[in-house]
């Protein structure tokens, strides 16, 4: 589903963020990206949905070389990749339901689809009774659920999560991981960058470890270190 071939990314004026990285992630896999701060985890994720372009190497998503993608097709790529972040990126002036429907509205999905999908997905993430609340009326864990609902409402092939539990207490984090696990079980490939040792060690999924932009470990059913 995701394949990196010899990928190098250098930010101008900074050291190399990702060096000659090779990785092959199959459909339906759940992968943890671990490594110290600044090791290139976020860069790895941003390359997959073309928020950044590599300086060298090739990246394939669903068999397509995304380096060859013309700029007007990038939105189509992103419709197949959901993104979740540490800071949720919710729109404060929209309710839960509006935040989720926004993702469908702006890609031109018909109204009747939105009407049925949004309540269903809010139910799935456990926020069926909070559809009309605003983000500031929710706990951190609930806000992250909203952002996961928004990322997943278009049923993407891939879900990228950049430290989704970074701002949450351990108990809440476990709830979020259960949710991501459930989403993974529907066949969605999940790639998650994290510093959370406990989660990685409990879930025992594939672990890719980065250090200074180099992939130093790629282990099935791995642990944090």
């Amino acid at each position: 589903m995701i394949k990196l071939e010899n990928v190098t990314k250098e930010y101008p004026g900074h050291s190399v963020a990702l060096k000659e990285a090779d990785a092959d992630i199959a459909k339906g896999e759940f992968v943890f990206l671990v490594g110290p701060s600044g090791s290139g985890k976020s860069t790895f994720l941003r390359l997959i949905n073309k928020q950044e372009d590599p300086d060298d190497g090739r990246i394939f998503v669903a068999g397509k070389d995304i380096g060859q993608l013309s700029s007007w097709k990038v939105p189509m790529l992103r419709r197949n990749i959901g993104s979740v972040f540490q800071d949720f990126k919710l729109l404060p002036n929209k309710t839960v339901g509006e935040n989720v429907s926004f993702a469908l509205e702006v890609i031109g999905r018909p109204k009747n689809v939105i009407k049925t999908q949004v309540p269903a997905i809010c139910e799935l993430v456990g926020l069926g009774d909070k559809v009309d609340k605003y983000p500031h009326q929710l706990s951190g864990g609930e806000q992250q659920r909203v952002s996961i609902a928004r990322a997943f409402v278009n049923r993407p092939l891939i879900l990228l999560a950049d430290e989704p539990t970074g701002n949450l207490d351990p108990q809440t984090a476990i709830g979020i991981m259960r949710l991501l696990d459930r989403i993974n079980k529907t066949g969605t490939t999940v790639v998650m960058a994290t510093h959370d040792r406990g989660i990685v060690d409990t879930m025992r999924r594939r672990v890719i470890e980065l250090a200074d932009g180099l992939i130093v470990r790629d282990q099935a059913q791995g642990v944090y270190e």
């Binding site: 007007w72 990126k89 702006v106 018909p110």
Partner: protein
Amino acid sequence: MALRVDYIAKETGNNLIRNPSLTIATVLTVALSLSLLGAALLLQRGVDGLNTRFKDDIEFIVWVQPDAAQEQIDLVQRSLDESSSVSDYRFVNREETFTEFREFWADSPEVIDAVGPDELPTSFRVVPVVPDLALVQALGSEFEDLPGVLKVDFASEYIKQLNDFTNVASRVMIGAAIASALASSMLMYNTIRTALFARRREVEVMRLVGASNTFIRIPFMLEGLMQGLFGAAFSVLSVFALNRALRGLIEKTDFQLLDSFALPSGDLWQISIWLLVAGTLIGFIGSGIAVSRYLDA
């Protein structure tokens, strides 16, 4: 992709009212610059009208001294008859001149009372063959030196002066219009940039979930377009108002020459269309630059 008209209308509307003072400032600068442009076009049309109207009208007047002898008048007349450059002329006698004089000074009876018909000069209204200003002036001065001739007036000279004045005026106005159009484009650019900044979170989310570039841009482009159009609409109003004021002024002065500066409404509508096009362009250019600068990353 289905174009969601309701969504776009809502977003454009929200953008327009999010920052009312900036929106108003932008609309007003567009209105100001286009009003200047409109006034310049109005003047230009007036001059064009003036020129066509007076093209084959009286070109100069030979005034004869009130106390000129009949032989002197006959001499002038003979010279006119003989001149191959004169296509036509008409003698205006004392009574006719006095009637004109009375009409002209109708508001001031004391002037009329003070002047008797005998004190007024008679005149020849001469139409030259070639209505070229230089030729007409040369021709006119030939008659200036004839005995009994008071002076030669060139109608075309007044027209030329008026022409020169309005040309300069309309050039100045067009210059000012261009300068303020540039200013309003820049203001537009800043307004749209501000709107983009205010909506950076939405834009970020839209990009992440795969909204098309067109979809993200349309509300911002439309915002600029609407502001340009609103400004243009104001300038259309001011052009109509200006024309109306001019008409009132001209009617009051009773100065025939200026008639062509009060334009028929057909001309006004034509100018209005130009102003609306210009407003649309200002909006399009200003917002287009802002959107491509800040969304093509």
